[in-house]
Amino acid sequence: MTTATSPRSREFVATVKLLTFPLLILAMFGLFAMFEPRIASARNLVNISSQSTYLIVFALAQTVVLVPRGFDLSLGNAVSFTSVATALALTSSFAAGLPGYAVVVLGLLTGLACGTAVGLFNGFFASVLGIRSFIVTLGAMNICYGLSATISGGRPVFNVPEAFTTFFYSGTFAGIPAPILWTACVAIAVHVVLSNTVFGRTLYLMGCNPRAVEVAGLPRRKYFAIAFVLSGALVAIGALMLTARTGTGEPNLGGNLLLQAIAAAVMGGVSLSGGRGGVFHAITGALFITVLSNGLNFLQISGYLQQIILGLVIILAIALDKSRD
């Protein structure tokens, strides 16, 4: 057993385990490239990395609540809500004539306010009242759907200012495309919070053994609620990036994102029963999903079939999650 082996070989086994999944993604990529050489072109590689950024942010949002044994079903509709509300704020007469930086600040503030509000709502009911998180987020999912459809009248909000789309999508900073830069910042921030703060380490303990958190005198409910707020903020950042990419506030933006974010997180190795998983897992999981859907798109597989494949991936991820324990 692992306890009998020396620390060094245990470390070796851990490294091998960590690298298995990235190698699997590479193998899948190679397989796709054999069928369709254009998949391996430099242009498509850039494409994949910028496409995966959004999913990475959403997978991180899901990871932050999965670690302390929570769950967020409201993710997709929270994205729609944030997108529509931000676009409405940016195109309102109030925002007309604002200078570029003010537009960006306004968008960022509106988006974060919406996202954290949803997170706070989820966190309050899930931790203070102790309702199971996925019932709360199921309710929040419907509330967000209703709100985004009502305030937008069910139509996309056009004319998002250019300063906003440049900052979050088309611009480059020191040669790095905006989505990649912001995602890297977010990923580093989440990694620091999860690994190097008492709050982050408590989330892991909460996932493994909630009782121990209370015995240790840590504020279990407060931290659980904060995890949801943090997740809401991440959802908002992802939603802003997506809104900048489409250039409109879309009431249907969330569509498949919930399933993809869950599939990415769990496939990457974030445990459904809490306590395991981090930034690395979310990123590899998101890359897996992106490479898969990119390859299927190149091979011209119908969107309906892709939906079936996504469902199968989720079931597979669940089975893998079980086998890891």
Partner: protein, 340 residues
């Protein structure tokens, strides 16, 4: 500490309430409140909006309430065994498409009754298959049911849309659509009779059969059900199969009413069925839930929808209100189990 011990410990300290509320008390309270609210709503509606009492409006109301009650009855069994079936909407889409496709493609010259029989049979088979997959995954992979059913719903909707390319399927016999789906028998819609029959069947199962008692036992405390020698997994799977079958029945009724097979039906019904079950007093802690209260809750929810439509409240806002109701009822459920 092994994982098993850890899980047991968590369950004892966090998931299971220390003392369970007497369910008889719970039942009378829920039934009473629901009946009072329903009567109150009907009274207000008939005073404020005379159109409410129109025969057409009442028939529509009763038909939708019956269909909602049928889906929620299946959801109830799944929640009793501490699960959630998020795939009922997807199952309905799949069943609708399968039923319509089979009916539209039977060989020329087949008798109408046989055509309907094949279509309905195929629909039920499809529903049961989805339920079986859900049940087996939950029972043997031992994972959260909502993860499994989220995955299967993606697969099943994808399949329904892939089979039809997203286009409605026409070509069902008139005997199925206009003469059954939209029929009014003795002043009441056909779906009402079927819903009432099903409710009676489930009432008998819950109150007079051992199967019903075992399902409560498995939901109330899985471990003690296993220790008392029940093949608990069998009843777990059974609950999901029932849910698949009721979703199929509801879908067949809805398909007959619409007159075409649609890969898009069932959208909001998943959430509504969970809402109805919870409002009807089915406890999220498992082991508690009565068919009669679920039926009343379905009627209540449909009345509320009808009221909002008559008062011209935007349908999207209804989702907000429903979401809030579910969370508040769930909070109340927690409060009840804690305070005892």
């Amino acid at each position: 500490m092994t994982r098993e011990q850890r899980q047991t410990m968590t369950r004892i300290t966090h998931e299971t309430p220390p003392v369970r509320l007497d369910w008889r008390h719970h039942l009378t309270e829920t039934t009473g409140i629901l009946i009072a609210v329903i009567l109150g709503l009907m009274l207000i509606l008939s005073l404020v909006e005379p159109r409410f009492l129109a025969a057409q409006n009442l028939a529509n109301l009763l038909r939708s309430a019956s269909i909602l009650a049928i889906i929620s009855a299946g959801q109830m069994f799944v929640i009793i065994v501490r699960g959630f079936d998020l795939s009922v909407g997807a199952t309905m889409a799949m069943v609708s498409v399968v039923t319509a496709m089979v009916m539209a493609n039977v060989p020329e010259g087949t008798a109408t009754s046989l055509t309907i029989l094949y279509g309905v049979g195929a629909g039920f088979a499809a529903g049961a298959a989805v339920g079986l997959v859900n049940g087996l995954c939950v029972a043997y992979l031992k994972v959260h049911s909502f993860m499994v059913t989220l995955g299967t719903s993606s697969i099943v909707v994808g399949l329904a849309l892939y089979l039809t390319n997203g286009i409605p399927v026409y070509g069902m016999p008139r005997g199925f659509s206009s003469e059954f789906g939209r029929a009014i028998w003795g002043g009441l819609p056909s779906a009402f009779y079927i819903g009432a029959g099903l409710a009676l069947l489930f009432w008998v199962i819950q109150n007079l059969t051992t199967v019903g008692k075992y399902i409560y036992a498995v939901g109330g405390n899985f471990k003690s059900a296993v220790f008392s020698g029940l093949s608990a997994n069998r009843y777990l799977v059974m609950a999901y199969v029932i849910s698949g079958l009721t979703a199929a029945l509801a879908s067949i009724l809805l398909t007959a009413q619409i007159g075409s097979g649609q890969g898009s039906i069932g959208g909001v019904l998943t959430f509504q069925s969970i809402a109805v079950a919870i409002i009807g007093g089915v406890s999220l802690q498992g082991g508690v839930g009565k068919i009669e209260n679920v039926c009343l809750a379905a009627l209540f929810l449909q009345l509320l929808t009808n009221a909002m439509e008559l008062l011209r409240i935007q349908s999207q806002l209804q989702a907000v209100i429903l979401g809030l109701i579910v969370i508040l009822v769930a909070a109340n459920d927690i409060r009840k189990t804690r305070s005892v």
